[in-house]
Symmetry: D2
Subunit: 146 residues, 4 copies
């Protein structure tokens, strides 16, 4: 990424920097990230398929979950996931580029609802809905060390 | 299945053999597997945590999803996941041993509902409910090559 | 409704005509209905509250479910609900006018996913996501009489 | 609570007494109620069916939701529903006696997860999973008048 990159591209780097699961393990990229919105991609490798030779449903969920986290978080606060639902429409295969597009649908108090669709080249393969609670980074740090 | 072996332990091996995501990528083990029931474990490695230094929620989902698949499948038929919900109760950490215990709750027609709880040493960290459709292996093969 | 009413208003009448639960029991009105979209309203009566003096969550679900059915159905086919999730954000009270706005989010094969938000005068009180399968009316009739 | 009465049966009466939706509108009965468990029944009346002449899915949800509330609540505290999922397996008809059996599955901190199955004479027609937060009655009263 060039030195001249916009803030839009810098923040994802910061957020993903320590997310070893999304980056190191699964090779995701953050393509877009702005308030309440994010696009994350992942190429399905040979070691991401299950016994039926289709991408493991848990990894489809995981790329959606990362996009959800990117869309919900903003400077000074983080959104902790309290749960999510996923519906599968079609299988993905090794070699597929999966694109997870997340959009916050509603916020009320500390609650956030965010929808993510996951596509491959043929169309939608899954719809994900994530539920989150917004907490300050200070509070999260306190909870994690207690 | 050989006469000399406990079918209970042979079948998981067979099922997991080609599931590279669960084995190669995530290092899961199948501890128990019988009709409508399975226990799968996964040790949280350093490369499985997110930016908050807790295990990525997607990987908690993934170990539950594998246990769900193990519990639902039986000889001659497979259960294809149509969707799932997960609720998170507490975070897991690097070094934790996660144990996902799956139990089919109900079957009606081709539909299967299966609940999975995921625990670490401190207690339940997530509850997962998976929805599946049972198809014959022949039909699945036909669909995947079409 | 006047004789000059557009088709947009005639179809809801036809669909609701025999839906005694939504009309007779719960007094809902269909405000808008077009392909993949519907708005249904319900006034919370005194006999719709639970022991905490707030509208029973099941009835918030029910008005959303009717809006879901209206948005998914079209001429010659009907959508049968296979399941739904609801998230509550705030309570409704007796006297509130609830407005359920349904929008189909995706279709693939026979599967339909449709989101519904329910509002009172203060804002969103619930988000509903419905899952449906499209069947022809002929097939539905055959199933129901078998 | 009087000395002479079975608390098991008196508490449901107390809880349902002001729940006009469940009693007056929908005619439910509480058959069993103990800690973390409840059974609630409802007869499907002619005015509870939708346009397909099957019981409105929202009312199947509602009887499950009432059973969920009965199972989660205990003396001095109440459980407020934060959301729920339902999966439908088969339709119910006018005249059916629906039996909703609720069992708390897990509690952690203030969070409660409770599963409910709904049956008619032919078997399971729906599975419901409710999510709740436990609050003291004093706090709930304060929130509702603020």
């Amino acid at each position: 990424m060039s030195d001249a990159a916009s803030g839009t591209y810098e923040r994802p780097d910061t957020m993903l920097r320590d997310d070893r699961a999304s980056t190191e393990l699964l090779g995701m990229d953050v393509v877009e990230m702005s308030e309440d919105h994010a696009i994350v991609t992942m190429v399905v490798r040979d070691d991401m398929v299950n016994g039926h030779q289709i991408v493991h449903g848990g990894l489809v969920f995981t790329v959606a979950d990362t996009a959800f986290a990117m869309a919900c978080n903003s400077e000074g606060s983080v959104t902790v996931s309290s749960g999510a639902e996923i519906t599968y429409y079609a299988p993905g295969r090794a070699g597929d580029l999966l694109t997870a597009t997340a959009q916050v649908r509603s916020r009320r108090g500390r609650s956030v609802l965010c929808d993510v669709e996951v596509r491959n080249a043929q169309g939608i393969i899954a719809e994900f809905r994530g539920h989150g609670k917004t907490v300050t980074q200070d509070r999260l740090r306190a909870e994690q060390t207690s």
